[in-house]
């Protein structure tokens, strides 16, 4: 079942917090995973796999590099949930 943008953002923020310890409030739609949140590629992969499980979607390896900002990831998850 499709979730709202806000629900996905909150879920994703919790996943990011669990992997990196970053404050949930820091995970905003306009933030870049690498430049703003300082998340490296391996942590990103962990976040991706945990997001797949949490949101019931598939995020292919090749798609991960296109997910620059938190908003990119939220929109991808939302459209994948269709």
């Amino acid at each position: 079942m499709a979730q709202s943008e806000q629900e996905i953002l909150e879920g994703l923020a919790n996943i990011v917090n669990e992997e990196t310890g970053l404050d949930v409030g820091d995970v905003q739609l306009d933030k870049s995973f690498t430049d703003d949140l300082d998340i490296d590629s391996l942590s990103m992969m962990t976040i991706v796999v945990n997001a797949e499980e949490a949101f019931g979607v598939r995020i292919p390896d090749d798609e991960v590099k296109n997910l620059t900002t938190v908003g990119d990831a939220v929109r991808f998850i939302q459209s994948a949930q269709g």
Partner: protein
């Protein structure tokens, strides 16, 4: 016209043993210690950055004139001494490597000759899973009666195959050799091997181009070193390999809490940590973390880590260890073994 068999002869089968076991392990670490500081300039990086991403502090590099076979011989002699076997008892030599620089012949017959042996000898190309592949093959050779004592060596001189300007892999690899002797036993000292391949991902870790491409136009080409799609490999290794490790435990009839050690291929400390999270092993089980001072030595990493843990008294002789190798191919293999 039909041809009928004579039917006068009967083939006899070789007689093996009920079980097999690892009788001893050995290792060889090249003399030269290479700290991260030696590698950072070419990849515009720092010691801190490398440690954060890989857990690697330093690695060993072989001397320029030190070959794969040279290193293999040293590890082999160490394993033979630790196992307490006579050279004459060894009747098969298996070398797992991807860095022996001759297309042919294999490293194993050259190694056998160095040891004064004329027994069966061949190489296995299963990259970072090579040692676990070799343990599985050797165990079945012994149980099937084809061999009585198999010398296995996992050996790599990855420094020869490293692109020192590639940020994704320049700091990952190291050189070394680890060896084991697999012999007969009246009970199972090596559990069933759970193995497989995912060749659809063959480009995830590979020699950058084939020798034929290199040969056709060598002029302005760089040496075809190894390349790796780090994120793809990380995902596969962590979430793909945890179920394989569980299957190896189930096949051996061993519970996680029965283990005395977990010895995964030393690919990257982050992979080891993330894999542990997936495996949910009891927290008090010693885990091989040899990678910090050895880096990723591919086929040599598991026997080197095993040798070290035994030598340092971190794991007990006679204890049970879960070992899992995974790498280029992509290929993987896991089994439970009794530590020698």
């Amino acid at each position: 016209m039909t041809v009928a068999p004579k039917g006068t002869g009967t083939i006899q089968s070789a007689t093996g043993s009920v079980g097999s076991k690892i009788r001893g392990v050995g290792g060889y670490r090249p003399e030269r210690v290479v700290p991260n500081s030696e590698l950072v300039e070419a990849i515009d990086s720092s010691d801190e950055w490398i440690q954060e991403r890989s857990g690697i502090i330093s690695r060993r590099y072989a001397a320029p004139d030190e070959s794969v076979v040279d290193m293999a011989e040293k590890a082999a002699r160490d394993a033979i001494a630790n196992a307490g076997v006579d050279l004459a008892e060894i009747d098969t030599v298996l070398v797992a490597t991807v860095t022996h620089p001759l297309q042919t012949p294999a490293a194993a017959p050259i190694l056998a000759d160095r040891l004064g042996l004329r027994c069966a000898a061949f190489d296995i190309s299963a990259a970072c899973a090579g040692y676990c592949y070799a343990i599985g093959i050797a165990s079945d050779l012994v149980r099937g009666g084809t061999a009585t004592n198999v010398l296995i060596v996992g050996v790599e001189k990855l420094s020869d195959w490293t692109d020192f300007t590639d940020r994704g892999s320049a700091f990952i690899f190291g050189d070394g050799a680890g060896a084991a002797i697999v012999g007969r036993s009246d009970r199972a000292g090596i559990g069933p091997t759970i193995w497989g391949s995912e060749g659809n991902e063959w480009q995830a870790i590979m020699q950058r181009e084939s020798w034929m491409e290199f040969k056709d136009n060598p002029g302005d080409r760089e040496f075809p070193a190894l390349t790796m799609q780090g994120q793809k490999v990380f995902r596969w290794a962590v979430w793909g390999m945890a179920p394989v490790a569980h299957r190896a435990l189930e096949a051996a009839g061993v519970r996680p809490e029965d283990l005395d050690a977990f010895i995964p291929h030393q690919a990257n400390m982050r992979i080891i940590d993330a894999m542990l999270k997936q495996l949910k092993l009891p927290a008090d089980i010693p885990v091989a973390r040899d990678i910090s001072e050895t880096a990723n030595t591919s086929a040599a990493s598991i026997p080197l880590a095993t040798e070290r843990m035994l030598r340092e008294g971190i794991v007990p002789s006679g204890g049970l260890a879960l070992q899992i190798g995974f790498g280029a191919g992509l290929v993987y293999a896991a089994q439970v073994i009794e530590l020698p």
